[in-house]
Symmetry: C2
Subunit: 317 residues, 2 copies
């Protein structure tokens, strides 16, 4: 796919991945509505296979290849949710998955990828080694590289979450996602633009990795400045394919502090009794920070995932 996905591309993606993903539920919470002063709908990709929306993009890319094209398997160098998604989608497609991970990755992440049957290749914990190791794997095996976000096939796959959301909930005023590399936010932007052009698309981003916020201000991509964030799915600089789409239709990026992220996450855990990862809580944190702006609006928020390390939670007295 060489051009920005069309509505037909997104529909085709949805058709293609249907049997490999779950149609996740949309939940609401009276107490969160009270606390925000808005009517908030949550699309629960934390209940998605592998616990994250990443299963949509990976499935769309992998099942976009014919079986005979899939024989050498797939490779990626993410160590988070995307890696698990590539591992599971490959397995479902009868292919092998190769995942390059820094050798200091946590046990939890290693185990999760292994559980879905991927082969792990460890690299040094730096960008150069990661890239070189991945290139070598691809050269040795003939595996196809699956980029975590900067690919139109991935974007079209992630767009299916917003498509389902818009089909399910009428008259949303705003749709929101967090933004990291931009796969989900670009996909959501396209789905919104095509299916309900009057709906606003607003993104949430941690202050500590506010590259998309700054990039939109400047009109060109500025890299993350590498401060730490608990929302570890959002650490990457936005991709150029993603940025172009975001730039075309996103109304605003709202940045939030680490504390605001943890508070919003805690609110979801306590009030909704469901587990979402810190990245998922970023848009809700943005709403809570700007109650006036969102007052009485019908807001759709995509919960990106629910993979957390229970032995290392951010709730501290």
């Amino acid at each position: 796919m060489e051009t920005i996905p069309s509505l037909s591309d997104i529909k085709r993606a949805h058709q293609r991945i249907q049997q490999y993903i779950l149609r996740t539920p949309v939940l609401t919470s009276n107490s969160i509505d009270e606390m925000t002063g808005a009517k908030v709908f949550f699309k629960c990709e934390n209940f998605q296979k592998v616990g994250s929306f990443k299963m949509r993009g990976a499935s769309n890319m992998i099942f976009g290849f014919r079986p005979e094209e899939r024989v050498n398997g797939f490779a990626t160098h993410s160590s988070g949710n995307h890696a698990q998604a590539v591992a599971l989608a490959s397995k479902l497609g009868g292919s092998k998955a190769y995942v390059v991970m820094p050798k200091d990755s946590t046990r939890v992440k290693i185990d999760a990828v292994k559980e879905y049957g991927a082969e792990i290749i460890f690299c040094e914990p730096n960008e150069k080694s990661r890239q070189e190791t991945c290139d070598k794997v691809i050269q040795d095996t003939g595996a196809i590289f699956v980029h975590p976000f900067n690919d139109y096939r991935i974007i079209a796959g992630q767009a299916t979450a917003a498509k389902e959301f818009i089909e399910e909930v009428d008259d949303l005023d705003v749709i929101m996602t967090p933004v990291g590399g931009g796969g989900l936010s670009a996909g959501t932007t396209l789905a919104a633009k095509y299916l309900d052009p009057m709906m606003e698309v607003i993104l949430g981003e941690p202050e500590n990795v506010d590259d998309t916020y700054r990039s939109l201000e400047e009109g060109k991509i500025l890299p993350v400045n590498g401060k730490p964030t608990i929302a570890d799915g959002l650490k990457t600089t936005v991709g150029d394919k993603n940025f172009e789409i975001i730039q075309s239709h996103v109304k605003q990026v709202i940045t939030v502090s680490e504390k605001e992220i943890v508070n919003a996450m805690r609110m979801v855990w306590e009030r909704m009794k469901i587990i979402v990862e810190p990245s998922s809580a970023v848009p809700l944190a943005a709403v809570l920070k700007n109650k006036k702006m969102f007052n009485n609006k019908r807001i759709g928020i995509i919960f990106t995932g629910g993979n957390v390390d229970l032995f290392n939670l951010p709730f501290k007295n």
Copy 2:
């Protein structure tokens, strides 16, 4: 209600509380099915109002009174989920709620009860002071006492969870709850007995508070021996009304260790991405401990609630 609730009593309870409770969803998990070797259905009372099945019994009791009988309000001396349920049900019925709590109760519990508008009366942290303080409140205010479990109206209310469960899922071989005071387990026993007499009722209980297990063996109520358990909803000795019902139809009580409870709880959090309290995990722990016995069975487990203190979780490295 002076006699053991009949099927009509349970149906009437369900009718009565309908507008005050949620019809909670039934969820399943492929990975938990794989790990147990059974087909397990979970009735999610963790999503119930106030985060626990206790809302059913309290609503049935409180709305069983005519408005003019409710003017002096309701009182209880529980400090957990039951207190929150009495507080909310009273508020919905336009009555006042008085909750007697030990003065060393945690902030979280105090705040939760306050949030639902109850008046809190603190007592010394012992049984005598609790009872005396509660008696005095009732004498001073004319409030009606709402027992947490040993009351047929409470039992009929709690029975509605199993009634919904059986209506929703066909052909369960076994239905399971944890047992503490016995409100939910007696209610479940009655619903099962009336609606599907061939279905087995099996209870889970922490080894550290195995009074119901021992009481069934002995044929008479033996009190808890007061060892600590993380499943703090299950610390009480089973009530006599509850025990009589349990004795009449429960097939077996399975006891589990503290470690087994935490492991099962962790499995639910990690695999299902939902928050359940330790008590909820006790029946699943019992299944995991007895895989052979439950092999290939269709098992219904009631998740009792989802109220946990996020600042004090049992997951330790």
